[in-house]
């Protein structure tokens, strides 16, 4: 498969997510970028052992030898749910901030908070 495998793509996605997280000022887009970073780690875990000739880890009478490793899949299920939990809470907090400052621009919020601190 050469360069085009899940792990490589996952790491590239991680980089894209990082750039989005740093360079976009909109908090909602930042959260999307964070979600992308989290998804990329999941892709990385799943792709570790994804053999093209493998079989899903289900006992349906087919040979055990061809099965892909089920352990990363089980781990990833937890990770997906945790990512959703983080996202939901982060969105709620963004809502609270918007209610207070009427903007989703991270720099503006930072300035406003600093100004309130100074008072």
């Amino acid at each position: 498969m050469g360069v085009l495998n899940g792990v490589t793509v996952a790491i590239i996605l991680f980089g894209i997510g990082l750039l989005g997280l740093i360079l976009r000022r909109d908090l909602v887009i930042k959260l999307l970028a964070l979600g992308l970073i989290n998804s990329s780690t999941i892709l990385c875990l799943v792709s570790l052992n994804a053999r093209p000739d493998g079989a899903p880890p289900l006992l349906q009478g087919n040979g055990l030898g061809a099965m892909v490793d089920p352990l990363p899949h089980a781990l990833v299920l937890s990770a997906i749910v945790i990512n959703f939990a983080i996202l939901a809470l982060a969105l709620v907090f963004v809502m609270l901030l918007v209610e207070r400052y009427h903007t989703t621009d991270s720099r503006r919020i930072e300035e406003e908070v600093a100004r309130e601190e100074g008072e």
Partner: protein, 264 residues
């Protein structure tokens, strides 16, 4: 199989970049939903059906749903504006004025709730350009809002006045500050007899002219101009509907009556 997997894997970064460079949040969110769906496909091809189902149900469906709910603007018509006496002003705890009446009617017409946020002048254009609000108002003069936003056809003729006092050096420094609490700053400056060089639309000028303007040079800028509303770019449909609604008001004479109520 290999080709399909390769194609999906190449598609992933492309969609991710597309998603994160969108200006409008809704587009970014939907692109990320698509991204999750493709990711689920990749998992399926990697023999991980459990992960694929979970990713599709949580990553693609639930997360997108929650995002869209959080930013969904149908259901509310969000208006940002600066305070202008007569056009958009606080009346106790509420907001009133000519523009408020027009927009409240428009929101009723669309079946939406009206939410008005009074912000500083520079934030009006920024908020609309970013898509944080549906409509920007508050004594905006047609042609003066720059790129990146749509304008409706003007709903009321107005004029622009230039108030200045020559020989003052602090004009440039003040122009930044003036952007914040625009009208209050101008009236304060006039009361204190300080240096100024600002353009005021008719409604604001009327307000300022009640003060003592002796010592200031007042010019009416040449040309015809109108008050207008602005919308985020890409909302042509909304622009058309608002323009049509304003036309309807003018033809029925309702607009003139409203002007009479608020601006005399």
């Amino acid at each position: 199989m290999t080709i399909a997997r390769g194609a999906l894997l190449v598609l992933l970064p492309v969609i991710a970049i597309l998603a994160l460079t969108r200006r409008r949040r809704l587009a970014a969110i939907i692109a990320m939903g698509l991204f999750s769906l493709i990711l689920a496909g990749v998992y399926l091809l990697a023999h991980a059906p459990d992960v694929a189902i979970t990713e599709a149900s949580i990553g693609a469906a639930l997360v997108t749903f929650v995002y869209v709910l959080a930013i969904r603007r149908t259901g509310r018509l969000v208006v940002v504006g600066t305070e202008v006496p007569g056009l958009l002003q606080r009346e106790g705890a509420r907001v009133g004025g000519l523009e408020h009446e027009i927009l409240a009617g428009f929101a009723r017409h669309l079946g939406l709730d009206l939410v008005v946020r009074l912000v500083s002048r520079e934030d009006v254009v920024a908020a609309v350009a970013q898509g944080e609000a549906d409509i920007g108002g508050g004594g905006l003069v047609a042609g003066g809002c720059g790129e990146g936003v749509l304008e409706t056809r003007g709903y009321l003729p107005t004029a622009v006045f230039r108030v200045s006092r020559a020989g003052q050096r602090d004009v440039e420094q003040r122009s930044d500050e003036l952007a914040r609490g625009y009208l209050n700053d101008v009236t304060d400056a006039v009361r204190g007899g300080k240096g100024l060089d600002v353009s005021l639309d008719l409604a604001r000028f009327v307000c300022v002219s009640r003060l003592d303007l002796s010592g200031y040079v007042v010019n009416r800028l040449p040309g015809e101009c109108d008050y207008t509303f602005i919308l985020p770019s890409g909302r042509e449909e909304m622009q058309r509907r608002l323009t049509r609604y304003l036309e309807g008001l003018r033809e029925s004479g309702e607009l003139d009556r409203a002007v009479g109520r608020h601006l005399t």
